[in-house]
């Protein structure tokens, strides 16, 4: 059975097929409004989410399917002590496909071991967020018309930021030129990901920086992330780092004219609101595209399940 737990679960060809399918859905949404009729999405968000949950739910509704689920673990049987594996066993009897978000890393992989239906990882702690990576890939493809050759800056929390973990592993497969990894020392990209890049993609240049300006000047894609309060074990560490990178109009003047500025959202203060009207700022469009991407993914997994 096919699941999407981590970026490696899809081949490069499948990524390209999904990007093409997404573009078609975005251009002709009416053609898809009954494609998942009679199917149910179990939307199991053990951790709060706005964009991702509603993006999944809306994707299924626009395909003509139904949605059941919850948006936090309060009141569910997991609060009564039921194991995740048991919850998944039960829910996979009620739904045709499950989207799961959980605070624990590896939770979606565990879920896939007991599920009878396809699992989509909607984010597991600071580990992976493959549908965000797919959304980011589509956004880049939409605006830049290609995936290869880009210089990409990942800025902010690279340690706990699951979106950047999935994105770097995914983009690396498409012959990008280089990554500029900008973070405070305490929030740097995990060693296992840097080692993987070195081992598997020796031709991709990796620049590890603490200052954002050189990356802003050089890169085609600027990917900002939030310093995530909920990932810190103590408040003092968060307060020390929360204002590490603030992108405003003055700094954005350094960027290329055809650069794009992305963010997985929610934003706190790392991108000044004055930049929202900058034509290079595409983060709200990026969020909207996530829905079309999830429509394409849900369809693919449901169709493979029916085959």
């Amino acid at each position: 059975m096919r699941h999407l737990i981590q970026p490696e679960d899809l081949s490069n060809q499948e990524y390209m097929e999904l990007l093409e399918a997404t573009a078609h859905i975005q251009a002709h949404p009416d053609l898809y409004k009954e494609r998942a009729k009679g199917k149910i999405l179990g939307s199991l968000f053990f951790e709060p989410s706005t964009r991702t949950k509603f993006s999944f739910d809306s994707a299924m509704l626009r395909l003509g399917g139904e949605v059941i689920g919850f948006s936090d673990a309060q009141g569910t049987s997991s609060q009564k002590g039921e194991s995740l594996a048991d919850t998944i066993r039960i829910m996979s009897g009620f739904a045709d496909i499950l989207a799961i978000r959980h605070a624990l890393e590896g939770a979606s992989l565990l879920a896939s071991k007991t599920s009878r239906v396809p699992i989509i990882n909607g984010g597991d702690g600071g580990h992976q967020h493959p549908t965000q990576a797919l959304t980011d890939l589509y956004t880049i493809y939409h605006y830049k018309k290609k995936l290869n050759g880009h210089k990409i800056a990942l800025i902010g929390d690279l340690k706990y930021g699951r979106t950047v973990h999935s994105l770097i592993k995914t983009l690396a497969r498409f012959d990008v030129d280089s990554f500029y990894l900008v973070s405070p020392e305490e929030l740097s990209m995990p060693r296992h990901i840097l080692d993987l890049m070195e081992d598997r993609y020796p031709n991709i240049k990796i620049h590890v920086l603490h200052e954002m300006e050189p990356a802003i000047r050089e890169c085609d894609i600027l990917y900002m992330t939030r310093i995530q309060k909920e990932r810190f074990f103590n408040e003092a560490d968060y307060l020390k780092l929360k204002n590490s990178y603030l992108l405003d109009e003055e700094k954005m003047e350094l960027a290329k004219k055809d650069a794009i500025l992305m963010h997985p959202l929610p934003r706190v203060n790392e991108i000044a609101i004055e930049l929202d009207s900058d034509p290079r700022a595409v983060y709200f469009e990026q969020a909207a595209m996530g829905m079309y991407v999830r429509m394409a993914l849900i369809l693919k997994l449901l169709e493979e399940q029916d085959d």
Binding site: S83, L84, E105, G106, A107, L109, L110, H127, P190, H192
Partner: protein, 143 residues
Amino acid sequence: MINVSGIENGIVIDHIPAGKGWKIFQKLNLDTIATPVVLLMGVRSTRMGQKDIIKIEGRWDVDLDLLALIDPDITTSRIVEGKVVEKKSMDVPGRVKGLFPCANPRCVSHSDQLAVPEFTLVRRNGSLHYQCNYCDEITRYSL
């Protein structure tokens, strides 16, 4: 010099780095088995200087993965009617399950009974490490 006679039928765990014999004795729960067991510590060795040896009478099954993780230079010899019929050196296992916990406190393997910690051996920068199958974290184990 202490002389300990050989065993007739059983297993000899040899080339244990000096001092680790007691740890293996505990990990294999050898204090709970009914057959005779001998732990020799600080035995003179040409190659190792000193080593520990464990001899277990009447038993042939030991967890080779566990021994390999404690030290890959350990050897085991299967003894039948006083003769060595098979000698094995250790291979560092490609996958291990349930032998040590994941180093990442946010890993699901700490919180769900079904998520038994499991790791895959990976080579990074020329050295071997275990990577958690659930959260990808590199874990340094100590047995």
